[in-house]
Symmetry: C2
């Protein structure tokens, strides 16, 4: 392996970039702003996908697939939506290249193959999907429609960062249609709960549920619900959003249904998504200066076993014992890798699996075999213990649970220490500069104040929390009345 990572305290941003690359999660491609998700990184994303997909299906959703391209005229139909996405979209204007007559071996756009109407590479699919829903929905009997799509989307970001902000990213986008506002809002909240459940119980990352301000709302939504998490550098990261669309897209695309009393009305909608951005959150939330710390529930390899041997004969004995252990662990649903490469020393392997965040490492030497023990090291605390082979399997099962709980609790304690309540703008500015994290403060509810704070401190309102801060007070900037506290932070 090449040289060590920068430390987090030294340069958090560089630490993140280097870690993502060195741990083989992703790299920048030659295509501006687009990343390559490498096999190890993709295997984590696959676990995320499988888990979320099951959660969506368990809550009654099915998958479908809609076109990559959005005709320009569709994007125009919902005004707020168009404004939100027009500035950052990849536009297909032609459908053919031809040989360049002036440069042998080179291609050029064929000017005769110009599209009548430009196509936008989807930045999100509301427009295309509601255009289909128009034909799928006539009566209340056709509702609700509960559909999800796993897809790639493109938003032409000028400043990109692996996983956190890329021109192309992978995500899922749910798009549902309902017969009433109440039902649509309930769906929005159901999904917010699914997301929170996933991030907390699989990513081991605590989240705060809230509602976005008008300014931070999804382009085209009536309300945007979100979950916000805190990274180790004190910056917030929006981990998922669930939008109540009201009848906005139904009106834009003329999607009506006859209700039970035979009255015609516009359909109510929601949309919701999480993306490969979660990979960035996963890395930033738990990892340390030695590398990734993966939560056991998403680690592609949960246990790695490294043999320590001096002779071929010794190795053979270890091999036999490991085969047995491996099989027993797999029977418990645990993914195990036996790293018996003869090209690398144990120390190198230890460092490599530490870098890659494997939660549990088992080392077995010839003497261990004689003593009927193995050395078990956990990635999160970097502690080691010798465990009798008689109880190894159950201990590992317990240990994986313990690691999940430990990294969750650690992130929770850090997050809770970094929610600071302030009562003045001075204090606000002081905290944002020195301590970072979330700031709980009263705000007068105006976009003007929100923008002023953002401009002066780079902090934005992450959300109006759902579960706390409900007491009334006065805005820290204007002194005007405020019905409840909101959460500010600098954010990714």
């Amino acid at each position: 392996m090449s040289k060590a990572l920068p430390s987090r305290s030294e340069n958090y941003s560089e630490w993140y970039n280097e870690l993502v690359k060195k741990a083989d999660l992703a790299e920048n491609s030659a295509v501006r702003g687009c990343m390559v998700i490498k096999p190890y990184g993709y295997s984590i994303w696959e676990k995320m996908q499988q888990t979320l997909d099951k959660m969506f299906k368990d809550t009654g959703h099915t998958n479908a697939y809609f076109p990559l391209f959005v005709p320009k005229s569709f994007l125009e139909l919902e005004e707020g939506h168009a404004e939100g996405f027009a500035k950052e979209c990849a536009v297909v204007t032609h459908y053919r290249l031809k040989a360049n007559p002036n440069q042998k071996g080179k291609l050029m756009v064929d000017p005769e193959a110009r599209l009548e109407e430009e196509l936008i590479v989807r930045p999100t699919s509301e427009a295309v999907i509601w255009n289909s829903y128009k034909n799928w929905i006539q009566s209340y009997r056709d509702l609700p429609l509960l559909i999800n799509q796993w897809a790639n989307v493109v938003r032409w970001e000028m400043r990109t960062r692996l996983f956190l902000r890329t021109a192309e990213f992978l995500w899922q986008e749910g798009h549902t249609a309902h017969a009433s506002a109440e039902e649509a809002i309930a769906e929005t909240k159901t999904i917010l709960d699914v997301y929170a459940d996933f991030v907390e119980n699989f990513m081991a990352l605590p989240v705060i549920k809230g509602v976005k301000t008008e300014n931070e709302r999804f382009a085209g939504a009536v309300d945007t619900y979100c979950i916000e998490a805190l990274m180790q550098d004190g910056k917030a990261l929006q981990a998922g959003t669930s939008h109540f669309l009201g009848q906005n897209f139904a009106k834009a695309f003329d999607v009506k249904f006859t209700d039970k009393s035979n009255k015609l009305d516009y359909v109510w909608g929601t949309s919701w998504g999480v993306s490969t951005r979660l990979m960035g959150a996963l890395v930033m939330a738990h990892s340390d200066d030695e590398g990734l710390v993966l939560p056991p529930n998403l680690a592609p390899i949960q246990v790695v076993i490294v043999p320590i041997y001096k002779s071929e004969e010794g190795l053979q004995k270890i091999d036999a014992k490991v085969a047995e252990i491996k099989q027993k662990l797999q029977k418990q649903g645990i993914s195990v890798k036996y790293d018996n490469r003869d090209t690398q020393r144990p120390g190198f392997k230890f460092a490599e699996w530490e870098l890659k965040g494997v939660p549990v490492r088992i080392a077995i030497g010839e003497r261990d075999l004689e003593n009927n023990v193995a050395e078990v090291a956990r990635r999160d605390t970097k502690t080691k213990q010798s465990i009798s082979l008689d109880i190894l399997i159950e201990q590992i099962v317990n240990l994986l649970n313990e690691i999940h709980t430990n990294i969750y609790q650690k992130a929770l304690a850090f997050r809770n220490e970094h929610i600071t309540e302030v009562t003045s703008y001075e204090e606000f500015k002081e905290v944002i500069e020195t301590k970072g994290g979330f700031i709980k403060a009263h705000w007068d509810g105006t976009t003007a104040t929100e923008e002023k704070i953002k401009e002066e401190t780079k902090a934005t309102i992450r959300c109006i929390p759902i579960n706390f801060g409900k007491e009334a007070g006065n805005c820290i900037v204007t002194g005007k009345p405020s019905p409840q506290q909101v959460l500010f932070a600098r954010a990714y």
Copy 2:
């Protein structure tokens, strides 16, 4: 449900289009040439994906994800590849829209946001992937690289058909890199076997393995291996291809490695893919004038249960028994749907599940309960029998296997009846016009003869079969010597 399907004999093409739509598999979208894969269709595709993904992983492959966009200059690097794809690609030229000053509420391409270099929406990913492999491969120790990607691709087809030929489609594309030609060729063949295994044992569709002629080869490949299947109208369908790329892409992208003897050489490559086109094959191969006939191994619903009742009390009794049966079937890994809608009559439900191709239907009435039996109908033969509830579960398990075998055998018999050996061009023309199917004939190996036959008969060489036709003879058109017979057909 709306009016019946056209019959296959009446209009096979219309029958196919209508069936795909009526069975809720897919529909055309408002975006030219792009389809919407509807939930029921997508659930079949998901089963295909899961099955293939496991097969790829079991043969040592991992998944990754590469950018959607291919810079124009990358496409130019491999000459044959560029020629093959330049004529039918979606070209991104701009990265921003802006408000149209002349038309309120309308958007226009921002002329100031022109890309320096045009980006092609990937028609396939060799170029982007080999450009990455350049940085991943230095030594033989980095080889083989065995990577697959699940993705969408775009080829600007002028005449499109749901699943069979669409501008955007979903697929998997494997891209592997090897230290020797032998190893790369072995990989190509391993994948061909995986594809054949999948199509025969999951899609219940027999295939012929072969090699493409130079004319039909993948743009940029040294050799293209393929599996070819026969549809009910006597036309062939290429179900999957596996390409030996030689060192073509390694040379174009300068991908070299040092071998064990420290010598520098270009890397050897393969690529291979199957797509949502397989959905079209699945529909065309087995279905009948009443609707889909799905092979049990890919049917999202394998068993549907319909209650036949006259009273609420009767329904309750049936409900209780069905809950028990359903649980037992699910324990056997069988997917079951209980269609207890009170808005539709049994006859309607029977027709609907017939249209949707559910392999087994169980109907249970009040009298059946008294007699401890159920009526079991199979979709493939449309036969029914009364089965004692005591042996129902094991009978269903057997029946699903039997249905797979039956539809495979039926397709195999049809296919075998439609391989006609001819010794003259006259006979060839006669067979292609009247009987259709595959024609086994000698060919002189020249592109000129191949093109002449294609022009005069619309038949192409589907493949040079691997497992038969090895005797030498004389070309049916030119009389020149031919080392072995090849397979012709009209094709999708």
